[in-house]
Amino acid sequence: MTSLKQFFRVCRTNIALAFEDEMAYKAAFFIQTLSLFLGDLVVPIVSTLIYSVSAGIPGWSLYEFILFQGTLIIVIGLWHMFFAGLLGETINSVKEGTFDKVLLKPFSSLAYVTSRGFDLDGIGEFLSGIAIVVFAMFKLKFALILLIPYVIAILLGALFEFSLTVIASSFAFIFVKTWRLYEFISALERFGRYPLIIYSEGLRFILTFGVPVAMASYYPASLLLGKESLSMALIAAIPVLVFFGIALLCWRYAMTKYSSAGG
């Protein structure tokens, strides 16, 4: 229990450090956050343009689709803030030989490296996602109580994104230079950018039960809008947890493979 408490203290310190780091260049941080915020606002504009010349995606009205996209931006923002730095931290510390130090800490290596990767840049995306979702909510009708499973599903979506990063980082131990794995992750995420309805039956199944990208956007938004039932979402949560388990196993395997640069 004390070690958990200690770990949270380390997390707090790491987050505070990240803050201090960014605050050294306040203007730059402000512009960076503002640009990420504004950059994501292009997303609903694009959807509005598509819906202005067509009937859009079957079964999804314009505002429903904007809610869907805002949800995805929230998930990506959360991932960017808390989890995305893991890959960079891993690659750099393995390259520089400082990973050995991590292994000496009295915490789980994964949790520790993740906490060091905290990145304030995600705040702009996160806020932009919230703004888009709130905007869409004003135009839509939904049961308020559904906000609870909505938020839980969003957290599960972020867990899925985290799992992907853990897997990519595990590979980083085996092939040190793997920056482009990031692009593989983002290519997979692209499948989550649109409602499942556009895909074929087989693909829908894979995106829910194989690589559960659908949890990052489709399931939270569909739950809130009543397009998917709670029981279906519960079933869809299982593959996310299994995926997370696999990611943890990958990390553990990578740890056994890790042989220091000898520094």
Partner: protein, 263 residues
């Protein structure tokens, strides 16, 4: 001239070392195209007419493949290079080269694009011809090539203008990112300009953005006829000249700034 040839060769060789990294694009691009294919298939099925925003389904897929092609052929990392060189003081080393810093960067860029043409662009186009049935207007191919070269020049100069802000700011990542998102959107790289409101379509003729993406694509699709061909190419040349002058002016001021802080 031999100086340029030497630099071009070095850049090409350097990039050849990353050929496997580049080939990843050949896997990633089709994933994006497949998702886009599903998306538009669903939208077209949901629509009463076979034409959306003035384009047929085949044309819109061709359009999307071409946005990839143009993005690869006109790609530049001048933004990151300038920011990095200014921050680390490398810029002083480059100032003593027998040719101007920006020319040096451009020749380097050209070398890397030459390799990409074969490693990234060609396979994507061939795959798209086989699997996505993309269309081409052969008669306008020479204009497409000319227009793409002008777009590369324009993209390089425009990015350089924004990147030179590094001389005045400690961290210009935000500005570069914002520029990327908005220019990307306004150039027609996300959606064809025919999806935009009429007012923007009219104004865009006088703005530099569409000459980065929409115009070269327009040539491939055979959208321009007779005089229009030369008007569009002429506009591209005009914008290249404007940004060239802008770049020189800012560069001159930037250099005095660099000297004044003593690096």
């Amino acid at each position: 001239m031999s100086k340029f040839r030497g630099m071009f060769k070095t850049a090409a060789k350097e990039n050849l070392a990353y050929k496997f990294d580049m080939m990843l694009t050949v896997i990633l691009a089709p994933i994006s195209i497949i998702i886009f294919y599903f998306l538009w298939k669903a939208i077209f099925l949901n629509n009463a007419t076979g034409i959306i925003g003035g384009l047929t389904f085949e044309q819109i897929i061709t359009y999307y493949v071409l946005t990839w092609l143009i993005a690869i052929l006109t790609w530049t990392d001048i933004g990151d290079i300038i920011s990095y060189d200014v921050k680390n003081g490398n810029i002083t080393k480059n100032l003593i080269l027998p040719i101007s810093y920006l020319t040096h960067c451009f020749v380097y860029n050209l070398g890397s694009r030459f390799i990409s043409l074969f490693v990234e662009a060609a396979p994507i186009v061939i795959l798209s011809f086989i699997f996505f049935n993309i269309q081409i207007e052969l008669a306008s191919l020479p204009f497409f090539i000319l227009s793409t070269i002008l777009a590369l020049l324009l993209n390089f100069l425009m990015t350089a203008v924004f990147a030179l802000s590094a001389f005045w700011m400690t961290n210009n990542r935000g500005i570069l990112k914002l520029k990327r998102v908005f220019v990307h959107f306004l150039s027609g790289a996300v959606l064809p300009l025919s999806f935009f409101p009429l007012a923007y379509q009219k104004i865009s003729f006088y703005l530099p953005f569409q000459y980065l993406e929409y115009t070269p694509i327009g040539f491939w699709l055979g959208l321009y006829e007779g005089n229009q061909t030369f008007i569009m190419l002429g506009m591209q040349v005009v914008w290249v000249i404007i940004f060239y002058i802008l770049c020189l002016l800012i560069w001159r001021r930037a250099i005095t700034k660099a000297v004044s802080v003593g690096i």
